[in-house]
């Protein structure tokens, strides 16, 4: 069992990379779309809703296949500059994961926006603070603080989601575990060890989020 450990750890590094990079892009996408979602303009609003509806309504595996095999099937795209990115399984995974987690993040932030008490906004307005400043200095920070617990869940869900990367040839933790399985024909050892490593990563994420919640969490 010890001999497979280094291989799996190499895989875990890739898993963490996928997670961190896609959470970073996902957060930016989520923020933008959450702001679009609370916009009063119905076209902008519907567009943002459509995006989150599609990415939350279809399995991540389908999205991954669509981006990796689907886009690669379009000859126009294969001959374009984008092929440099689409050709690499790593970037396909990052795109799929970012868009997926971005959709969930936008929903988490939107619901946080909508639970902000009217009193805060009214208090700002009565003091003559502009709408723009009210949004960026009062509503947005409160929304981010309020969504911390739900966002922590999303990070953990995404960590587990990254295991799908192995189906498009990425040797992440799951990919390495599968390799050990086909080489040794011992699925139990391979997948139990991988499971323990996933659990350990979850444990760390969970504690970081708890710390952040305690320090910055929004108390009402």
């Amino acid at each position: 069992m010890m001999s497979i450990f280094p291989n799996l750890l190499n895989g875990a590094v890739i898993t963490l990379q996928l997670l961190v990079v896609s959470m970073f892009f996902g957060l930016i996408i989520g923020l933008i779309f959450a702001i679009l979602r609370v916009n009063k303009n119905p076209i902008i609003n519907k567009f943002a809703y459509g995006y989150s509806y599609f990415f939350r309504g279809t399995p991540l595996l389908v999205q991954l296949y669509l981006i990796y095999y689907g886009l690669a099937n379009i000859e126009l795209l294969r001959n374009s500059l984008f092929w440099v990115i689409i050709k690499e399984p790593y970037w396909c995974a990052i795109i799929a994961f970012s868009l997926n987690t971005g959709a969930y993040t936008s929903e988490i932030l939107r619901s946080a926006f909508q639970t902000i008490k009217k009193g805060y906004v009214e208090a700002a307005q009565s003091l003559g603070v502009t709408k723009k400043i009210t949004f960026y200095r009062i509503q947005l920070p409160i929304a981010i603080k309020q969504s911390l617990p739900a966002y922590g869940n999303e990070i953990i869900l995404m960590l587990k989601g990254t295991s799908l990367a192995s189906v498009i040839t990425i040797m992440d933790l799951m990919g390495e575990a599968r390799k050990v399985n086909v080489l040794t024909f011992k699925p139990f050892e391979a997948f139990v060890t991988a499971g323990i490593i996933y659990l350990f990563i979850t444990f760390i994420i969970h504690n970081i989020i708890r710390y952040l919640e305690k320090k910055y969490g929004f108390q009402t």
């Binding site: 095999y69 390799k179 024909f185 011992k186």
Partner: protein, 275 residues
Amino acid sequence: MNKFKTFGLGIIISFFIVLSANAGSIKIGTEGAYPPWNSKDAAGNLNGFEVDLAKALCEIMKHNCTIVEQDWDGMIPALTSKKFDAIMAGMSITSERLKTINFSQGYADEVASLAVMKGSSIENINTPEGINLNIGGSDVDKALKTLTSSLSGKTVCTQIGTIHQNFLESGDVGKINLKTYKTQDEVNLDLTNGRCDVALAAAVAFTDYAEKSGKAVVLTGPTFSGGAFGNGVGVGIRKGDSKLLNEFNAAIDKARDDGIISKLAIKWFGFDASM
């Protein structure tokens, strides 16, 4: 309370039905994704050379057989954990696999080959038509050297857990950029998409795909046999299950003598791959 009793009884009865349906029958696992060895038709029914052969062998053994589908990378663990009793999935007999399971005598053999898209820079590799790694010798060494330089820096794709992966990792063709896939379908897709420069699999897997998809996939380099490529394809059976092993061996003898294997091979491969 009465509802619970009926429910419990229902469960017990269905349990016995399941048990009795399994009595006296054997289950054979196949991948259903490696045409023409084994595949699925548009309606999702399993077909292919090994599906036909399994039915013929079961008829000879007078067993009631069910053929079940199993992903390639879980094939041997599924056998050892008794999900089914025999593997017929284009699985070559290799010393690595013999450590975990037994094999019947080989029933068919077929060479492996590299494939590229038409117009590739390595569409023509100057090697003999076929090399047998068991024989070795200067011709084989020379061919491997030519292959090493042709494949250097190329992305080579193959299915995970196959003899083809073993060969590519053996160092016989030097250091390559190896990518492994769950199924041969995905290898074929990425070969035509251009993510793979070259792929390695059973030669018929490529010719079958080229024919059915109309894509310009062409074979290149020598055909491979022997060495890492194993000694033919046999029925995988759990260690200790010697009764079933003997039955399969006898049935394969009979099927070979009656010309059944040859007939099926010609039907599915277009040539006689029986052994």
